[in-house]
């Protein structure tokens, strides 16, 4: 029972995603010009993008907490969150590219939103490189936390402002967040879309916690071998 009590959210996450994958592929969707059946990608592409933002935001919170409390485990959590964010970002890009191929005709179009996504991925890859180039554990943690806060804020201003400034973008969502505005999404799709977001959030958090625990074990092994 204890196992179930601690892990109910993982089971819920699995059930949600099973529902999203089957429902997303089988349920009725509105037929819109150009999009046709590809509209089903919204459950995956948008869901993963939201999942990335969610877990990167968690990383930001851990980084701020590290700067305030100097607890090394917060730094490790921030790192794990960024790695999961990169994974979700890569998946979001990939699903987006497939979608673009079938609606806009090519895998990549020169568009502020798409370029913004690449800048985000580059930023967080730079974060990983920064961690790799410092040896001292404490210093690494401090530099990485500072860079994470700086990068997160600048990046999010970028993806909030620039596309709206550009006045023309082939990617939807110029006026706000696509698919979240009431009336924007067909009711038939909402019953899959919202569970999809919840499912990807849970999946991101789960991956993050597994990664964090693995890192902690590696750290402990390293400490033991160093001391003996």
């Amino acid at each position: 029972m204890q196992v179930l009590k601690n892990n109910w959210w993982k089971i819920a996450g699995i059930l949600l995603l099973v529902y999203v994958i089957t429902g997303g592929l089988l349920f009725d969707v509105p037929m819109i010009d150009l999009l046709h059946e590809t509209i089903r990608n919204i459950y995956f592409h948008v869901g993963m993008w939201f999942g990335m933002i969610f877990i990167l935001f968690a990383g930001l919170v851990f980084s701020i907490r590290y700067l305030l409390r100097n607890d090394p485990s917060d730094d490790m959590k921030a790192y794990a969150a960024v790695l999961v964010g990169l994974l979700f970002g890569a998946l979001g890009l990939l699903t987006g590219m497939i979608w673009a191929k079938f609606t806009w005709g090519s895998f990549w179009v020169n568009d502020p939103k798409l370029n913004g996504a690449v800048v985000g991925v580059l930023t967080y890859l730079a974060y990983v490189v920064l961690r790799g180039s410092v040896d001292d554990r404490d210093k690494k943690a401090r530099l990485a936390a500072v860079y994470n806060v700086f990068a997160f804020v600048l990046f999010f201003i970028f993806i909030m402002i620039i596309p709206r400034l550009a006045s023309a973008s082939i990617h939807p969502g110029l006026e706000g967040n696509p698919a979240l505005v009431p009336g924007d999404l067909d009711p038939r799709m909402r019953k899959v879309f919202f569970p999809a977001i919840a499912g990807w959030f849970i999946m991101a958090w789960w991956l993050f916690s597994v990664l964090y625990r693995t890192m902690r074990i590696h750290q402990k092994i390293e400490d033991i071998t160093e001391n003996s």
Partner: protein
């Protein structure tokens, strides 16, 4: 009042130091000049307006990176320790940002003169072009100073500075290139206002964040 005195002293210190080690600055100026001359030879006079604009900003970006990279590494660790005992970290980073803004603005204006001399000057709204140039350089400085501080703490070279800096500077660079393109074709202030405000906003946010974050990395 104390802050202003400290800021003043720090700025004067930067200036004196720059003067004493003018080889560093002349290195950056020479870098700028050679890149311009190189692109003049490479393009062989066949250049359209968009390329002129993009090339100009790319050259400025790389020169700015080079100039700001030395902001934190040119003085040694012990000297930094001394500054940290004398002034507050926020004042220290602000002095760096102000000084490097001035440096970059000078560099950019010199860069424009040289660039225009070789590649021609197609800019129609010259005053707006310069407003964009000056605010843009202040923005470059405010973003890159903290990055330079991080890279120098990591005891790493140009590579880390470039890797950390490019993604952060890219949004600002895109705005600047767009506004600059508008001024080349001739425009009014109201047309470039959104881009101009974005530049100021990004600068303000970068300065605020630098003030908040620098205290955490200022000592080794």
């Amino acid at each position: 009042m104390k802050t202003i005195v400290e800021l003043n002293t720090l700025l004067r210190k930067e200036l004196v130091l720059e003067w004493r080690r003018h080889s560093a600055l002349s290195g950056v100026v020479l870098y700028l000049f050679s890149t311009v001359f190189l692109s003049y030879l490479a393009f062989d006079g066949r250049i359209n307006l968009e390329t002129w604009n993009a090339l100009f900003w790319l050259i400025l970006l790389f020169s700015a990176m080079n100039a700001i990279m030395k902001a934190f590494i040119q003085e040694n660790e012990r000297r930094h320790l001394f500054y940290y005992m004398m002034v507050s970290p926020a004042t220290f980073i602000n002095a760096k940002i102000i000084y490097n803004s001035a440096l970059l603005i000078g560099l950019a204006i010199a860069g424009f003169v040289v660039f225009a001399a070789f590649m021609g000057n197609p800019v129609q709204s010259l005053s707006l072009f310069f407003i964009n140039l000056i605010t843009g350089m202040a923005g470059f400085s405010s973003i890159l100073c903290l990055v330079s501080a991080i890279a120098s703490r990591a005891r790493n070279n140009f590579t880390l500075m470039a890797v950390l800096g490019f993604p952060l500077i890219l949004p600002l660079l895109l705005v600047l290139i767009r506004v600059s393109g508008q001024t080349i074709n001739g425009t009014s202030f109201s047309a470039i206002a959104p881009g101009f405000i974005t530049t100021l906003l990004l600068t303000a946010i970068a300065v605020t964040l630098s003030n908040v974050l620098f205290p955490y990395i200022w000592k080794d």
